[in-house]
Every structure is written in structure tokens, then in C-alpha cells.
Symmetry: C2
Subunit: 317 residues, 2 copies
């Protein structure tokens, strides 16, 4: 039985192995993913994003418990920032999730933000796909909301919760118009902290100013204290409300079209690059090309043109 079939039967070990193959960039992984694609689309994907220190991990942990109590199987893809400044004791937080480690209805996978060819959004969507195929009802993607790569990750989610926290920085300037477009639900976590009212009020005001068109979803601002499990049920309810809207309003059609186009173009880009690396390995010498650039004999643009013209004959261009 293929890995893909095992995953579709709910085999957790097979899923873990396939994810490892994805990480390692093995070509077999692609064959398995191909088999999974038509059998997926059942999981509801929730993105949790916000600045470092907003308490996202704890919130995800509590949401996981909440969805479990409602009988849902939950997959978690946690993007661990390896960037120096995003900081926070991510690994320490991850330990808290251990309370779910004996629960077969919870599958947690961490991805590091560095290294993956094709960027993190590719690995994230592939891992989410495997969780979907494995039978997870909910897949939560947790990511620090910085950088283009992370914005792309958020696009994979059906519902995106933007987590803010009072008193991060001296003022609310950091809340820019951008996050208003990203979020379907806004969460002021650590709501017991000073400044929580102000943060929530300013968010609400900014959202009000948007004049959402009739028939559109209008995001709410919720307050949580994840460490004390306060406000979690309301958040889960609101996520489910957005899910209902998402499925009933036709939003999902646009979403799927955009997602498929993004996946297609992303895979196209990576695939061509991989082919080019193989081509260079066979027909040229990367070290020699680079040396010739170092000696100013050729510029990188011309060097690329030379390789590409050999790789792709003119008439098919």
C-alpha cells in the first residue's frame, strides 16, 4: 500500500513519514501528494498570526482543546521562526502542547522558517494537505506575522485570526491598515493587561472605518486570556461562524481558485529551478561560472542567459 493510501486510512506514522519526505525534498513525496490532492479539501484551515510575544502558541493550545471537546480532530502546523528577531521562547511554548501528545485526535508538526526550497508556504500547504488527508477536521496554522513568506502562509487559511496584545511597543502605530485586510477575526490576547481596552477599541474603530460592503463578513474584535482559558469558547464560536459564512457565501470559490493558481505557479517555479540545477550539474560547472563572475568575465544576467538558452531551445520559447 502506498504512503498516500495509508495516510488516507488515518495512519499517523505514514503521515509523519510523508511529512519528513516533504521536508527532505524527496521526489517520491510529490508522487504521494499527487494521489492525496483529489481526496482532500475536507479540513477547515485556521490561520493564527500575530507579532512575537502575543501568546499565539498558548492560544493555539487552548483552541486545540476547545475543538477537541467539540469532537473535532485537530492538526497544528506551527511555523517556528528561525529568524533572529522574531524571538520568543517558541520551543518552550511547544512543550505546553504536550498535554495533547497522547491524543490521537491531535497531530502537531513544527516547521522551521529557513531552508525549504520554494519557501515555507509550499511546505506549509503540503503539510496541511497531509493533515487534511489524514482526516483532521481542523488544521491550525500558527505563524509570526512578518515577511512576505508568512503573508503567503496566511493565504492558505480559510479563517485568519490576527492576535494582538496590549502594550507591545509604546503605541498602536504598529497596527497598520494591512492587518485589517488579513484578519477575519481579531483577538486581543492577554486581555488582563493594561491597555487592552485601548487596543481593542482602536482595532474596532479601524475596522468600523472600513465600511464593509453589505453581504461581506465584518470582523469582530474578541478578547482572550489564553493562559487562563478565558474567551476561548467565544473565539471558537466565532471561528465556526466565519466558517459557515465562508462556505455559504461563495467566498470559498474565489478562495479555491486563488489557492490553486498560487500552488500551480509556486510549484512551476520550483520545478523549473530544480531542473535547471540538474541541467547545470550535467552540462556545465557552477564553480566555473561563479569563478568567471568573480573575475568580472561575465555578469550574472548574461551567465543565466547562456545556461537558459542551452536548456530551453529557442523554438519552444
Amino acid at each position: 500500500m502506498s504512503l498516500a493510501e495509508q495516510v488516507l486510512q488515518g495512519n499517523i506514522r505514514a503521515a509523519a513519514r510523508l511529512m519528513r519526505d516533504i521536508d527532505d525534498g524527496r521526489s517520491q513525496a510529490v508522487d504521494e501528494l499527487k494521489k492525496l490532492y483529489p481526496r482532500t479539501g475536507n479540513a477547515f484551515i485556521i490561520g493564527i498570526t500575530g507579532p512575537p510575544g502575543a501568546g499565539k502558541s498558548t492560544l493555539v493550545d487552548q483552541l486545540t482543546a476547545s475543538f477537541r471537546a467539540r469532537g473535532k480532530k485537530v492538526g497544528v502546523v506551527a511555523i517556528d521562526p528561525t529568524s533572529p528577531f522574531t524571538g520568543g521562547a517558541i520551543l518552550g511554548d511547544r512543550i505546553r502542547m504536550n498535554r495533547h501528545s497522547c491524543d490521537e485526535g491531535v497531530f502537531i508538526r513544527s516547521l522551521a522558517t529557513r531552508g525549504a526550497l520554494g519557501g515555507l508556504s509550499r511546505s506549509t500547504s503540503d503539510v496541511a494537505l497531509v493533515m487534511d488527508a489524514l482526516g483532521m477536521d481542523i488544521v491550525i496554522i500558527e505563524t509570526v506575522g512578518v515577511g512576505q513568506d508568512e503573508v503567503d502562509i496566511v493565504k492558505e487559511a480559510h479563517t485568519t485570526c490576527v492576535v494582538m496584545v496590549p502594550g507591545l511597543g509604546d503605541d498602536i502605530q504598529a497596527i497598520k491598515a494591512g492587518i485589517l485586510e488579513i484578519g477575519d477575526i481579531f483577538v486581543v490576547n492577554k486581555a488582563d493587561r493594561e491597555g487592552a481596552d485601548r487596543t481593542a477599541r482602536e482595532l474596532s474603530n479601524m475596522l468600523d472605518m472600513r465600511h464593509a460592503a453589505p453581504g461581506n463578513w465584518s470582523p469582530k474584535v474578541l478578547r482572550t486570556e489564553a493562559t487562563r482559558c478565558t474567551g476561548i469558547e467565544d473565539l471558537t464560536d466565532e471561528i465556526m461562524a466565519h466558517r459557515d459564512f465562508f462556505l455559504s457565501s461563495g467566498t470559498i470559490d474565489n478562495f479555491l481558485r486563488e489557492r490553486n493558481q498560487r500552488h500551480f505557479l509556486g510549484i512551476l517555479r520550483d520545478d523549473l529551478f530544480k531542473k535547471a540545477l540538474l541541467f547545470i550539474e550535467k552540462n556545465a560547472n557552477l564553480d566555473k561560472i561563479v569563478a568567471s563572475m568573480c573575475e568580472n568575465h561575465i555578469d550574472p544576467y548574461s551567465a543565466v542567459e547562456e545556461i537558459v538558452s542551452k536548456m530551453i531551445p529557442e523554438n519552444t520559447d
Copy 2:
């Protein structure tokens, strides 16, 4: 006279136009860049990176003044984060730089972090190249240190200054091993703030633990108050000291090799992707491919294989 030649003669308007062409992704820009490449390599590139709110813009402004006072022409490439959470009143800060706006020896260019095909690091290095060709002695690249893209930007710099600030977050956990490898010089800015001693001491301790091999550069921790122009001259001196080390120790040879390889591979990747988009436009129909994915008739991996096999005939693979 070509744009490239005008730039090489120090024509600022031509440089601005070429940068605009680069931004717009015009193919003529590549022809001009090709001409510039062999004529560059004279500018010394300084990377200034650190979390939002560390006062990087003010520091860059002061450094610019300091280098100007030493008779150097200075180019500044400021990466303005468009990501929602990196925040900070970037545009406000930029206004301060106006004091250099009548100075022909200063050339400032802002790049937005979103949209550029091939990512920001490509545009940044191209813009730095134009500044180099224009005759700038120093090119300062200022960027928020988050995300893979920004780490790649830092790699373009000969000398990287990591700017930290006391009291960002409750503890120093955010300072991870990663930044120790990035920085050639560490700056604790806003050094009048509470906690500055602690931040500087902890940084020094972490650096001491690295046991730099003999003959390697050992980074120092400097303290500045950029708004009051305190510590700037020392920082400039330290940058020049690192420059001397960089040039005399042979570090530059490795640096150039890595940079040329990175440029070559990055351009290769983008170029192939652009060619693929043109190919699809001529020989296929993206909307139809996406629709067929939406109807689960094909998965994106197989759809890509189909296109690529048409684009690159088997025998040249």
C-alpha cells in the same frame, strides 16, 4: 549615451530612472545592469538590521552624516516593511533624512517589501549595484531583521551592524544564537534607556562564549543614542576597522564567491519562471488549468509536469 554610461558618469537622474526601471521589472533594465556589473565593486556595503523600534532609521541618518563629514559619498537603500506587524513610523522617520536632500553626495532610495518578483534581495542588490556604479563610496542597506528575505539582504553587506535596544520585550530571550552569526558589529541603541547595561552585557557574554578562532573578526558591542548623536563616531570607526579587516584578511574572496553564486542562482530562478509565464500565455491557458484543478481533474504537481514537459523537451533535460 546609454543609461548605464550616464550612471557611470555620476548622473543621479539616470540612476533614479534605472532604479525605477528595475522596480517596474523592465527588460531594458537588465541590459543596463549587465553593462554596470563589470564596472562595480568599489562601494563598501553596510547592512543595518534589527527589530522594529530599535531606531535604525535615525542611526542610518547619523551614520550618513558621519561618513559625509569624512568625505565619503553615501547611498542608502531603506527597506520599508509593508508587513503588518513590523510596524514603526517608517515614513515619519524617513522625513528626518530630508536634511540630506540637498546634498548631492547622498542618494536615498526606499524599497517596499512587497511585490517584487524574485524577492526583495534581488531588487536590493540591483539598487545597491546602481549606487555603486554611480560612485557612492558607502552604500547603507537598512532592513528590519525578520524573515528569510531580509536575512538574504543582509548577506549583500560587507559589514553588518545588528541594532538592539533595551527593553524590547520583557527579557532578552529574543536574542538568539542566530543574530550572533549575522552581526559584525552590535549596537545597543537608545543606550540611555533602562536596561541598556544589561542588554549590552548579555550580548557581550554571548559573543565571548563563541570562542572566535584566532585570525577571525571578533565583534564588539557598541552603545549609541542616535537621536543625540552619541556614539556615532565610534561606530563609524568600528565599521571602518571591520572594512580594513574584511579587505586584508581575504574574507572578501569568499564573500564575492558566495554573492556571485547567490545572484546567479536567483536570477536563473526568476528568469525561468518569467519564461514559463510567457510560455503559458502563448501555448496554454492559466485560467483553464486552474479551473481544472478546482474541479479536481488534475493536481497542481501533474499540471506543472505537463507544462514543463512541453516547455523543455526531454532530450535537453
